[in-house]
Symmetry: C2
Subunit: 332 residues, 2 copies
C-alpha cells in the first residue's frame, strides 16, 4: 500500500508529521513525501526544511493521499499541476484525506463536491466557497474521503484511517506506541470551547503574524549588488548577523587580518573599503542557493575602468535569515 503525503513550500509541519508518525507504523505500507520536484521544502517560517522522497510523477496512483495545509495553501490552489495530480490520484485511491487547510486543495480538485468536510476553523468559509459543505467536526469520513480540522487533528484522522486500513487492534497499538493520551492544559482547542476573548486574541495574533516570503536568492543578490553600487554600507550591513564572521583578502590589507569578527568590526571594514572601490560596479552573474546548508554563493563581475574582475562571495545564513559567515573571494 502506497501512502503519499504531499509537501509544499509553506506547509505546516505538524499537519504532515502527525499523520506520518501514525501511518509509518502500519504494516505492509510504503510512505512517500511527495512534491512536484525533488528538493528541500520549507515551512513558511523557514525553520523546518524537509526533503521530498519522490516526485508527484513518481507516485501517480497512491493508495492513500494525505494533503496537509499551511499558510501557503491559498497560493497552492492555483497550482494546476498539483491540483491535477490530486484529481487523478483520487480516481484510483483507496483513501483521500486532508489536514487543516489541505481540504481547500481537495475541494479545488473536485474531491469534496457535495460532501460534508472540515478544515481549520478560521478557513471554513473559504472551504464553502471552494465547493464543500463545511462542518466544524474534528474528523469527517465521507465514503473514501476523510477531512480533519486544524493542524493537530491530523493525528486523530490518521488513527481513524489506520483502524480502517489495518483494523482496530493495530490502530490501538499505534496509538499506544505514540502514547496519544492527550491532556491539553486548557479546554480551548475549538472556537466554541475557547470563548470570544481567546478567539479574538487568536485572530489578532494570526493577523499580526508577518507573512514570511520564501527566501529568493536572486532578489537578495540583486539587492546586495545595488546596495554596494550606491555605496550604502548601512543597507549592506543590515543583512549580517551581530556575530558575523567575514573573511576577505581585502580585510587582510585594510584591517591587518583576513577574518573580521562581529558586525561592528565589519562596519568599520566596509566603511574603510567602500571609498577605495572608486568607480567599481558589481554585476551579479549567477547565484547558487544551497537550502539545506542555508548557503548562498554569489558569482559576480566587478567592473572598473573598462576592466572586469570575476569575484565570488559565499554567505551562510542563520535561522533568522541573517548572514552568519561570509567568504569573499576576489582572487586577491
Amino acid at each position: 500500500m502506497q501512502i503519499a503525503i504531499v509537501l509544499f513550500d509553506g506547509f505546516t509541519a505538524l499537519d504532515a508529521i502527525g499523520p506520518y508518525e501514525v501511518l509509518k507504523r502500519l504494516p505492509s505500507t510504503t510512505l512517500h513525501f511527495v512534491a512536484e520536484r525533488r528538493k528541500i521544502i520549507h515551512t513558511s517560517d523557514g525553520l523546518v526544511a524537509m526533503a521530498v522522497t519522490e516526485t508527484l510523477a513518481d507516485v501517480p496512483r497512491p493508495d492513500v493521499v494525505v494533503m496537509p495545509g499551511g499558510p501557503a495553501t491559498r497560493e497552492l490552489m492555483s497550482n494546476e499541476a498539483l491540483i491535477e495530480w490530486v484529481r487523478r490520484a483520487h480516481e484510483s485511491s483507496a483513501w483521500t484525506t486532508s489536514v487543516c487547510t489541505g481540504s481547500l486543495i481537495l475541494a479545488k480538485a473536485g474531491v469534496l463536491s457535495g460532501l460534508e468536510a472540515t478544515g481549520h476553523w478560521m478557513w471554513l468559509e473559504p472551504l464553502r466557497e471552494a465547493g464543500a459543505n463545511p462542518s466544524s467536526k474534528r474528523v469527517i469520513v465521507q465514503g473514501k474521503v476523510i477531512t480533519s480540522a486544524g493542524v493537530s487533528s491530523g493525528i486523530d484522522m490518521a488513527l481513524a484511517l489506520a483502524a480502517r486500513i489495518s483494523g482496530e487492534d493495530v490502530a490501538k497499538a499505534i496509538q499506544l506506541a505514540i502514547e496519544y493520551d492527550p491532556e491539553p492544559p486548557f479546554d480551548c482547542g475549538s472556537p466554541e470551547k475557547a470563548g470570544t476573548e481567546i478567539v479574538e486574541l487568536c485572530r489578532r495574533r494570526a493577523a499580526a503574524a508577518k507573512p514570511k516570503v520564501p527566501f529568493d536568492p536572486d532578489r537578495f543578490a540583486r539587492e546586495w549588488a545595488e546596495q554596494w553600487n550606491r555605496r550604502d554600507v548601512d543597507a549592506v550591513l543590515s543583512h549580517f548577523a551581530s556575530n558575523v564572521r567575514f573573511t576577505s583578502p581585502r580585510a587582510k590589507e585594510l584591517m591587518g587580518h583576513a577574518t573580521v569578527d562581529g558586525i561592528e568590526e565589519l562596519g568599520a571594514y566596509f566603511r574603510k573599503g567602500a571609498p577605495l572601490l572608486g568607480t567599481m560596479r558589481f554585476v551579479v552573474d549567477e547565484t547558487i542557493w544551497d537550502a539545506a546548508r542555508r548557503t548562498l554563493t554569489i558569482i559576480y563581475d566587478r567592473h572598473r575602468d573598462g576592466g572586469i574582475q570575476r569575484a565570488c562571495e559565499i554567505m551562510r545564513f542563520d535561522s533568522q535569515g541573517l548572514v552568519r559567515e561570509a567568504d569573499a573571494l576576489y582572487g586577491a
Copy 2:
C-alpha cells in the same frame, strides 16, 4: 528568548515537531533546530530529512532546551559532546525539557538527579537506571525541568511551557491556533488504559520492527564493487528498484539504446556485459553522498591488463533505499 530543539539521526519526528509547532508561536522568541554539525538529519526510517539551523556551538546558552527522543536515544547517550552541551546549557537555561526518551539524555547529563521525571512508557526502567525517579504522568514539572511522556506528549508539554513563558492567554490562543482539541479514536493512549492485549501487541510490534541502519555510502560502494568483481549480477541487481532507469554508453553498444528501463532489461544488460569485463576489477576511489537528493556518486577505477580507466556512477535512491535512476559514466 532563544529556544533550542535538539536534532539527531534517529530522532522521532513528532517529538520535535509537536513542541516546534507550539513554541514557534510564542512572541519574542527565536527557535533553532540544533545538532553537532550543520547537516541533514534523518529519522531512523530514513523518510523525514530535516535541516539543522544552528550547531550546538552556535547556541551554547539557550533559554529553553527541548530534547526529543527516538529510536537512537540509547546510542546518543554515549555522545559526550552532546551530553556536555546539555549539561552546560542547563546551567543557564530558564527551562530544560524533554519529550519521550529524550529524558534519558537529560538524566545522563545529570539534569534529572533526584527529580521525578517521565518518558515513553516502555523506557521508564532505563530512565530509573539513568538516575531519575520515573513516573508515568504525562507531563512533570520539577522546578525549571519539564519532562513529558511518549511522542505525542510533546504538544501537551509545550503548551504547559508556553503558559509559563507567555501567560495562559497566549498559550490558550496557541492551543486554539493549532486546534488542539484532541479526539483520540480509542481510549488506549497509556498502558493502563490500553489493557494487556494491546500492550502486548504494541510490544511485539516494537520488537519486530527491523532496526534501520543509517545508510552508509562507503559500505554500499564497497559492496557494489565487490559484487561486480566476483561477477555476481544478482547481488548487484538487488540494489535496483523494479522501475529503475539506467543510462550507460555501454548499453548503447550492447542493447542498441543508452537507456535501460526496468529491472528485467537491466538484468539482461548486466548479464550480457559481465562476461565482456574480462579481468577488469573495480576499485572505489571516492563516494559523494547527497542526503537531500538521496544521490550517491561513486568514483572508481577500472583496472584491466595493467591499465586503469577512471569511471563514475551516479545513483539516485528511492524512499525504499533502492536505486531508481543511475548514470554510468565511463568516458565512453
